[in-house]
Symmetry: C2
Subunit: 130 residues, 2 copies
Amino acid sequence: MNNYSKQREAILDVMKENLVHPTAEEIYHLVLEKEPQISKSTVYRNINILVELGEIKKLNMTAGPDRYDYLYKEHSHAICEKCGNIFDFYYDFNKDEISKELLKQIGQNMDINSITIYGICEDCKSNNKK
Amino acid sequence: MNNYSKQREAILDVMKENLVHPTAEEIYHLVLEKEPQISKSTVYRNINILVELGEIKKLNMTAGPDRYDYLYKEHSHAICEKCGNIFDFYYDFNKDEISKELLKQIGQNMDINSITIYGICEDCKSNNKK
DNA sequence: TCGAAATTAGGAATTATTCCTAATTTTAAG
DNA sequence: CTTAAAATTAGGAATAATTCCTAATTTCGA
């Protein structure tokens, strides 16, 4: 695994140009403009490879399909569990202390990759339609 | 919505008795022992209702189907992005300060429901098979 | 320049979840 | 108790999201 392919490069370009947490489907449509022949399975396969390589991050959604994020710089995510909106933000979590707690409580060290806040955004609170 | 049904009660009982973050499929099989006639769609529908009611929490997984957690008491989750293992732990995040930062950076308040750590567990680090 | 390994397009298959319908159950009012 | 409206159910069909399969093409190192 890991030969060059213009398809994979086009996908990474799309991610760099669209810092809006697109779904796989949205990535597919965006990349079609650069690579009109690309197939959806190629998009899915390369997204997974880019996630493994650590170039992009998979965002786990409460509702709807997964979303992806190009890691231009370290940041955290706050995700609304109702509308699915994703907000990027920066917060200096004390990872050392969290790691120490994890070791104490679950008996093992973890490499912390990211921290995500799940909640309800202001819009969903006010328009509290079910 | 919200009439009594023994099916919904059986599902909640299963969640209380199995604090192991089961998938919908696993919940279905567990609840079959109590309610042999129950259908899978009933399980899915009631899981969603229980999530809306705030009795159980949906855990957003990097890989594989969603998992669910009975909220016996407040805790956070650390999820391994490789093997999908979920570890419960408690950490006293400074939610007030995080909220303040959110307001400053994204321009709105959010009700914080939960905080999840994503990373790589020790086992997956050592057996670093792709 | 050549062959093995990797990648592709396209579609089939699979997985996870939601939707649909007629029958049953629950609930509250009389 | 009755009764009727509203909610819920079982079962299966439908949908959505993702992965898998295969033959053809591309990449790349010897």
